[in-house]
Symmetry: C2
């Protein structure tokens, strides 16, 4: 039985969507147990609306919510009866994964403080996956867990990215790129310039510097960068895609013939929207921790939690944490 915890509080759309995701998930997988952490009374009341195998859903009472306005470190230390803190503490007691849609800062801080990192990994990293032009997927590591990084951190991100792409995505010898402001070896800020020669020595398929323009091209499987630059790339990409979509809508509204055209093109628009819909992509795993912790978008519906469950199951079945432990114990690298 795979045992996954859901943090039901902290998501913008409320606990009901999280409960629904739990029901849908256990109805899809027979070997799955979902534990809903949050306000027990609310959850039990909501569960009455659904049919499911009662043995597959558990509830843990933890009624306090950590919001985006809370200071992460303070909230994790003081809000001991919050769904996130209780979830994190419970994770270590024989559970396989925790999925949360709460405050990113709190999830990261909680992961560092409560779950702990794998020996040898200097910094765990948040790593979302995005769709590429040729129908594949690209991983961005780190996208915000570590906004100030040293070269050794980026080297660890590269190795974690390699292991994830090989073990979970089944990509042999994944192409690891360093995000940079030019492709030439001498390019970059101090961090990139110092990291480049180190990456060349790592046991990875390092394909050199890549500009942000190539992020979704499909020419690299993993983009390595510090969390600040990664956050800019991820959110800049999301923002640009949204603006193009909105501009198209504006254009269609203005013209009758374009409205007709849009009708004929609705399947294309729908599939494009689906492809770039962050909700279908699961969440961002905080890679490098001793247990699986997945952060889904705060504005997510039940669909995000459901795809994060699939992602967690792949991570669990492919023993990614064990493989990371194993690889990093072999690598004789200095910790940060």
């Amino acid at each position: 039985m795979i045992k996954i915890l859901f943090d039901t509080l902290g998501s913008d759309k409320g606990y009901k969507q999280v409960v629904l995701a739990g029901v849908n998930s256990v109805n899809e997988y027979k070997d799955l147990e979902i534990t809903l952490v949050g306000n027990e009374q609310d959850i039990l009341e909501e569960l009455k609306n659904y049919k499911y195998n009662a043995e597959q859903i558990k509830v843990i009472h933890a009624p306090t919510e950590i919001s985006c306005n809370d200071t992460p470190t303070k909230a994790i230390r003081e809000k001991t009866d919050s769904s996130l803190v209780v979830g994190l503490n419970t994770l270590k007691e024989g559970y396989d994964a925790l999925i949360s849609g709460g405050s990113t800062g709190a999830v990261l801080t909680g992961g560092f403080l409560k779950v702990g990192r794998i020996k040898g990994i200097s910094r765990p990293a948040l790593c979302p996956m995005l769709p590429t032009l040729n129908g594949g997927r690209v991983m961005l590591i780190d996208c915000g867990a570590n906004v100030d990084c040293k070269p050794i951190n980026l080297c660890h991100f590269a190795l974690m990215g390699k292991i994830y792409m090989e073990e979970v995505m089944g990509i042999k010898n994944p192409r690891i790129a360093l995000l940079n402001n030019g492709v030439e070896e001498h390019k970059g800020n101090d961090l990139a310039k110092t990291t480049y020669p180190l990456l060349k020595e790592m046991p990875i398929n390092f394909v050199g510097n890549f500009e942000a323009r190539e992020f979704l091209s499909g020419d690299a499987d993993v983009f390595v960068c510090d969390g600040f630059a990664g956050n800019v790339l991820l959110k800049g990409t999301e923002g640009a895609i949204q603006v193009v979509m909105k501009k198209l809508k504006q254009g269609v509204k203005k013209s009758f013939s374009a409205k007709i055209g849009a009708l004929f093109m609705r399947k294309v628009f729908k599939s494009l929207k689906k492809e770039f819909n962050i909700e279908g992509q699961g969440g961002s795993i905080l890679l490098g921790l001793k247990h699986i912790l997945i952060k889904v978008h705060g504005s997510s519906s039940h669909l995000s939690f459901e795809s994060a469950v699939k992602q967690a199951m792949q991570l669990i079945e492919n023993k990614v944490v064990e493989k990371l432990e194993n690889e990093f114990s072999k690598l004789n690298v200095e910790e940060d």
Copy 2:
């Protein structure tokens, strides 16, 4: 008479496009003189194909090209008969602006070494303008001239951005945002966290932290950041827009009804393409130098040079260099 220099070498599409841009520009503006710097024989031969007022076009012989493979500092020092170096040296002798489509690194280095910066400005910055959702324009400063920055540099970028938006774009009290990985005041990497309180004290309309997602929203007029993050944002945005367009094309090719739809929507697509076409947006000015230096995209056609001419004329007519000198002499800021 406004006197603008064109660096005819170094652009991917060759000197002929630059010559054409010169002809088109003088045919549009009677009070404009264009000086084409490059291989004199080639240029004169090409000019034979066009009609124009001969008094408005001059040629300076400088046959050597600086390419992207040259090390910028070395090339600027050693290639003294290159079109870029000759152009930069000539700029100081009574010319108003130089426009180049050559290697970004060489243009930046050449600008620093040959043109010199305005007193009080710690670092000149490369600042492109992009179209926003509501039909306006947003400036990104810096997008690659300074990949490692100190807080004082970002403060200077903010003030330069303010002056440019007010004087050239006519925006009163422009809203200046700090690019960050979250909107809260305590967010950011070391650089952003240290810069935030300084920007609050600057004589600008500081609107706080903005995430990359909001870059094209139109809610801020200027995005301030170090050149590495700015480069990631600019190129990430360009790349994402291209991918959406390509995906749409792929979708249309696959279906007959979508092909029909695309026909009805062709005006919408055309205007969208035009709006996000970097060529129509002019170039990126290297703001903070004693003379006007504009870098256009390396893969530009004549259109980029022509819109950069318009941009240069606005800068000249609005005396932006003088206004920067004036403002920064008032500001009692420590130089870097």
